[in-house]
Symmetry: C2
Subunit: 421 residues, 2 copies
């Protein structure tokens, strides 16, 4: 008898994680002989622990197809990391209990490094507990920090958003710089890895193009060097456009965002490194500035998603189901690059054991020697990931994103479960 599958979205959502969900669901629907139904976890893995499952068979084919162009997590995601097996084995046992109650034979977990660690642990536990379940990870992270896969679905779209936005803002600043703003600072995500900030560099195609400075989390902030480059840029080009990663740190290893800003009550922690950099520019150079903090806008910007990214996100969801049906277990589909230009890639896979808890940092040689820009090698890597547009449909002038019914599956277990947070 065909088993059911469980699918959950985990961690920070992206513009294309629902495209992966679309790939999973559309592919599963073609194999009802092997996958009877797909139950989604409401709010990610929490839905499994609390037996709060969503019956995706209640959704129309049209609604499932619309997931491909809808940002964020249609079933809800969560920031909830399962403890280690030793610390809280009961959590894993509970998962197996819920899966058993609902005849779930497939576990698809759509997330980043922590999530793939969970998938890996579930796959191990199922063996030791004698409950056979196929565990497949599906890569997702705007931070692009998963190992083995050439890149992560979610990253290409935020990369495109950042490159488009800094280009547009720089056109604005350049045209007004004579009498107005001379320095523009755009803060982007990436607390540990500089991939997103680096993507801003794609907007600069020739000498003098914006952005003129990129500040990476991996490279210690050098105030003198930075200010000198700001001055140089304003002198040479009339203005200076800066992309700064939220994770930039000073020589003491402290986040600049926390080192600077205080609210009226003297509390730090408003967040925002852009205003800190802006204040520095104003105080040391006396230049007129403006700053922007893109925050969630960047990772939710499905309206300007990369077509490459959407296709890859979908392909990863589809491949996850196909790998499961081929009898693979404890693996994650990956993107394998075959060629930079013209860009070519294919689907591969990696063992979850090798993916779990490994963070892929941006190589130092992807930043220029002065640490304030990207190299040609970096551009070669990043360029294909933002290629192509994949516009959502519009209604009343706004993207027509789908909101699913998210009908619950009837509970089968009597015990309620309290989350250990």
């Amino acid at each position: 008898m065909a088993k059911n599958a469980f699918y959950a979205q985990s961690g920070g959502v992206t513009a294309v994680i629902n495209a992966s969900a679309c790939g999973v669901l559309q592919t599963a629907r073609k194999h009802r002989d092997q996958i009877a139904n797909v139950y989604a976890g409401r709010n990610g893995i929490i839905g499994a622990l609390t037996e709060d499952l969503i019956d995706t068979s209640q959704e129309s084919d049209a609604a499932i197809a619309a997931l491909r162009h809808t940002p964020a997590g249609a079933f809800g995601s969560c920031r909830f990391k399962l403890k280690g097996l030793e610390q809280n084995k009961a959590e894993y046992e509970r998962l197996i209990e819920v899966f058993e109650a609902h005849n779930i034979g497939y576990f698809f977990y759509n997330g980043g490094g922590d999530s793939q660690d969970t998938s890996h642990k579930v796959s191990q536990l199922s063996e030791t507990m004698g409950y056979p379940i196929v565990c497949i990870g599906i890569p997702k992270t705007v931070d692009n920090d998963l190992p083995i896969t050439d890149n992560c679905p979610g990253f290409g779209s935020v990369a495109k958003y950042v490159a488009v936005s800094i280009r547009e803002a720089a056109f604005d600043v350049a045209s007004m710089a004579k009498t107005s703003t001379k320095v523009f600072i755009m803060e982007v995500m990436g607390r540990h890895a500089g991939w997103i900030a680096a993507a801003g560099g794609l907007a600069a195609e020739k000498e003098g193009d914006a952005p003129h400075i990129i500040l990476f989390p991996e490279i210690t902030f050098d105030q003198e060097l930075f200010l000198a480059k700001v001055e140089h840029s304003v002198k040479e080009y009339g203005y200076c456009a800066i992309v700064v990663s939220e994770g930039v740190r000073n020589a003491e290893g402290k986040f600049l965002a926390e080192a600077g800003t205080r609210d009226a009550f003297g509390h730090a922690q408003l967040g925002g490194v852009a205003p800190v950099i802006a204040a520095l520019v104003q105080q040391k150079l006396g230049l007129k500035y403006h700053w922007a903090v893109a925050d969630y806008l960047q990772r939710a910007a499905r309206h300007i998603a990369s077509k490459t990214d959407v296709e890859q996100a979908y392909a990863m969801g589809k491949a996850a189901v196909e790998l499961a049906l081929e009898g693979k277990n404890a693996v994650m589909p990956t993107i394998v690059r075959k060629s930079d230009d013209p860009y070519a890639w294919e689907v591969g896979y990696a063992n979850l054991a090798e993916v779990a808890n490994v963070e892929k940092m941006m190589p130092r040689e992807y930043a220029t020697e002065d640490g304030l820009g990207i190299t040609e090698a970096c551009r070669r890597y990043l360029q294909p990931l933002i290629l192509g547009e994949d516009y959502p449909p519009y209604k009343n002038g706004l993207p027509d994103y789908v909101i699913l019914k998210n009908a619950p599956v009837a509970k089968k277990l009597s015990a309620s479960y309290t989350l250990k947070t």
Copy 2:
């Protein structure tokens, strides 16, 4: 003999001011018998005062056509307001002197209220000085605060950006709210008029949709009312999405942005009301927040421009030339709304004397009684302005915006001119 025309861009640029320039230039090129050449002011009116003119005849037809899809000011704009006629008549005399030297018979000034005041003064002076010049204003402002015209080119695109962005960010927050961010705050432009903030309200099409709260500059910030609505929204919908205008003020008339934030040195004025609201939410309600400041991204976002806006911006540029050729003087083309739904509009015109220095505020009845949302009347007004998409062409995954040659016109006057700022 055909006279030359002068065209300049003034004040804060928009996603579509170059579409107006495109309308001016393409229309003028069709009437070379009457308009020999169009000289653009480099950096706006400063280019006229300093005799720094750009020869637009050096630009190819393709480059001029590409202005239609290129944001910001292709010839440079400026924040430079001419003094009153009494205070600095010399400035106006200098303008006439430059115009005379270059055989300029038409003055096209693309800007907001201040700029239309300048156009008006130039038209008056030309009479008293006996130098005939036709003065036509071209409306432009993201703030939508010009009188008589139903709306201003530039506003529709920033409105669309804001509505799209809050919808997308809200999808993100809604899907994560169970375990993460509960309150999201997006700061938008509009120091005096709430039009841009109001546009965020278009994203909410039914009860519970984001944004749940809009804070307008015209309506005094009521902390208790605001916090109560945040709590209500989080309780009812699981999260709260807020659009806040940079110009929101407290009961003492002080900008919240200035009342709150201080940097490490105790200086106020980092700017940013979003972090102030965020800190308030955190301190009073203990809710996890995120905030974004769109800043220039919103007014430069040509990639998501409103088709209606692009068409109207172009039409205003075209009409300006046509009005001049018809013998009109001291007027500005306007957008006249004929019907809300289906939306219909036509081109009209207004006397500069009636446009100059009049600021059109958002009517109080466009905000709900509690002052935290928009009414149906407001929605009816705003809805057509964001209709349609008008995507730019892309190259290497990025919008392919044009940068003009901007070749200078040879100077004819010996005297240099020092700007009085």
